[in-house]
């Protein structure tokens, strides 16, 4: 029996079914995304070995089977990137405020 973990491709966009939805400004979105990524990484790392991980194809309901370790590393990378971006934004805002 293999329980699956579903990975959503979480991106800073509104749900594809809802169009033209008002989105919060970028720093707020970025924070949310970072939180989501953190959760994903934690979940993946806490999975048992016999679990299957499926990744959702964007904009569809199909889930492809993926390797857990690979996806874990990928998610960690994305988290790092998001953190970096967030950091940069904060830095730029700080510089703007200072100016």
């Amino acid at each position: 029996m293999a329980f699956m973990t579903v990975l959503n491709c979480s991106l800073p966009f509104c749900h594809w079914k809802r169009k033209w939805e008002y989105l919060p400004p970028l720093p707020v979105q970025l924070n949310r995304v970072i939180k989501e990524q953190k959760v994903v990484v934690d979940e993946l790392s806490n999975l048992k070995k016999n679990r299957k991980v499926y990744k959702q194809q964007p904009n569809s309901n199909i889930f492809f089977l993926v390797d857990r370790t690979e996806t874990l590393s990928q998610c960690k990378n994305t988290l790092d990137e998001l953190k970096k971006a967030h950091q940069e934004m904060e830095n730029s805002e700080k510089t703007k405020i200072k100016k």
């Binding site: 699956m4 991106l11 966009f13 033209w20 194809q57 904009n59 199909i62 089977l65």
Partner: protein, 527 residues
């Protein structure tokens, strides 16, 4: 920055509103851009998936059962992709081809994104311009230059026009224009008279020219203008009426005298007297003469008098020359040969009743009151004679074969009908002098001999003078009358004629019983 004349401090409210609108546009653009960016990312992910899809024969997947349920399964035929082209059209292709399709769509998405970016940038700059606070810090005081226009008259040359509603006809102006061809200048009938006297004089001249210069054509325009002007005069000014002295007084005419406008009624005054009455404010003999000449000749029972005849009228008299007509009394019986050895007879009782009715009402109008027809039976009653207590339907006079030999020798039915109508119309309200003149032309050409008749007739009567203006229809004993192939008004008992003849029977009762020469001729034919 100096302040110009009329410059005032810039009002901030409309500018702020403008800025808000700009910002709205910017935010909407941003939202759209985000949406399209997501679409683009989806396409990219799909492209990546399609790149690697043919690498394996089958994939383990979670097959969706509806929106919420899933089932573990396999994805087979990894190289066969069905692509939606739109409008429920699908295309089966390989993964590589699908990748190319996706690339094509991405190209479109990028184009849309670029346009949105441009728009957003444009409106951002506009919004920035409206940010007066920011600009005033940089540039200084802003002043709104306004120019107040006080004089409104200079604005437009033409009238303010309002668009017509669709599918609607434009209104026609109520202005009536009367064209006087002689002058060559158009005159408006409403309130543009230089002077009334000049206008009337002008009219007279035109009429005289018509009579003398162009006897063949009767200018309808002049007549019309006459009529219209008179109508207008009745509205605009007080008309003084001239009751003309008449040797033969007729009671029923008295009422007509009071109406100055009713030229048509004068013409229909068939009690035996015709007066050319004018409702002009100035006493103008010439005008009256011309009018009487024009219209008096039309009322002749049998002929339309040429202008030559009108010349016989004493124009130079101080008294108003008038033409008087007297028509024959309604004969008791008029036989009409309708061919096929049948004759129609007048319904004597009917005619008498009508005569009495006309006399009692005292109505000078010769217009016969149409019978009150409500049912088809009424129609039959009107057009049917009572013979020996039985109803005998009338045959159409136009179907008479013997008409070829009769007085009304015009074989064409149309013209005969026209004559009938015209004759009836003349005695009723008629404004169409043009048609009369046109028809009268044909009569004139053939009735040269007839013109002599009125002159011949008076001597035979004991009471009238050589030609006092009274035309009396004699009995058909004079041989000169019969052989004339005359296209005259056939005195056939049409409804209008009969009724009109009763109207004029008032005066003629005094005179001896006379039958129209045409009737007489017809009566003699079967004999």
């Amino acid at each position: 920055m100096e302040a110009f004349g009329g410059a005032s401090a810039l009002s901030l409210a409309p500018v702020g509103h403008l800025r808000q609108e700009y910002e709205k546009v910017v935010t909407s653009c941003q939202e759209k851009i985000q949406h399209w960016k997501k679409v683009e990312s989806d396409y990219e992910a799909l492209q990546d998936r399609l790149h690697t899809l043919p690498n394996k024969l089958s994939y383990d997947i979670m097959v969706p059962f509806g929106p919420l349920a899933f089932m573990p399964g396999k994805l087979v035929h990894s190289n066969e992709v069905t692509v939606l082209l739109g409008d429920n059209w699908f295309s089966k292709c390989s993964a590589k081809q699908a990748v190319e399709l996706v690339e094509h769509r991405k190209k479109y998405v990028r184009k849309v994104l670029d346009d949105l970016q441009k728009v957003m940038k444009n409106f951002e700059s506009r919004a920035e311009f409206t940010d007066l606070q920011k600009m005033s810090d940089a540039a200084g005081n802003f002043v709104d230059i306004r120019e107040e226009i006080e004089d409104d008259s200079i604005e437009t040359k033409g009238k303010n026009r309002t668009a017509h509603k669709p599918h609607s006809k434009p209104k026609l102006s109520n202005v009536f224009e009367v064209d006087f061809p002689v002058n060559g200048s158009d005159r408006k009938s409403m309130g543009c008279f230089q002077s009334e006297e000049e206008l009337w004089a002008h009219l007279e001249e035109l009429e005289r020219q018509e009579l003398l210069g162009e006897p063949d054509r009767y200018s309808a325009a002049v007549a019309l203008s006459c009529l219209e002007l008179r109508k207008l005069q009745a509205c605009d000014s007080v008309c003084t009426q001239r009751i003309l002295p008449m040797p033969n007084t007729v009671e029923t005419n008295g009422e007509d005298a009071s109406f100055s406008e009713e030229k048509e009624d004068k013409r229909t005054d068939l009690n035996g007297m015709y007066r050319a009455e004018d409702c002009i404010t100035q006493g103008n003999f010439h005008k009256e003469v011309t009018n009487s000449d024009l219209f008096g000749g039309q009322v002749n029972g049998s002929t339309y008098y040429h202008s030559d005849d009108e010349d016989d009228i004493d124009v130079g008299d101080n008294s108003v020359p008038t033409i008087f007509f007297s028509h024959t009394v309604e004969p008791k019986r008029v036989r009409i040969n309708t061919g096929k050895n049948t004759t129609l007879k007048f319904s004597e009782k009917k005619e008498e009743a009508k005569r009495k009715r006309k006399n009692s009402s005292g109505n000078g109008h010769a217009t016969p009151e149409l019978p009150n027809i409500k049912t088809p039976a009424d129609i039959y009653r009107v057009f049917v004679d009572v013979v020996n207590g039985e109803y005998v339907p009338r045959k159409s006079i136009l179907k008479s074969r013997s008409r070829e030999n009769s007085v009304c020798s015009n074989t064409s039915d149309n013209s005969a009908a026209e004559f009938d109508d015209r004759r009836g119309v003349q005695r009723s309200i008629s404004c169409d002098e043009a048609t009369q003149s046109d028809n009268s032309e044909s009569i004139l050409e053939e009735e040269e001999g007839q013109q002599q008749l009125p002159k011949k007739l008076p001597p035979s009567s004991g009471t009238t003078e050589a030609f006092s203006g009274t035309v009396i229809e004699k009995e058909p004993l004079s041989p000169s009358l019969i052989p004339h192939p005359v296209i005259a008004h056939p005195v056939l008992p049409t409804i209008l004629e009969r009724k009109s003849e009763e109207v004029l029977s008032k005066a003629s009762e005094e005179t001896p019983k006379r039958i129209s020469k045409f009737k007489a001729a017809r009566m003699q034919q079967p004999s």
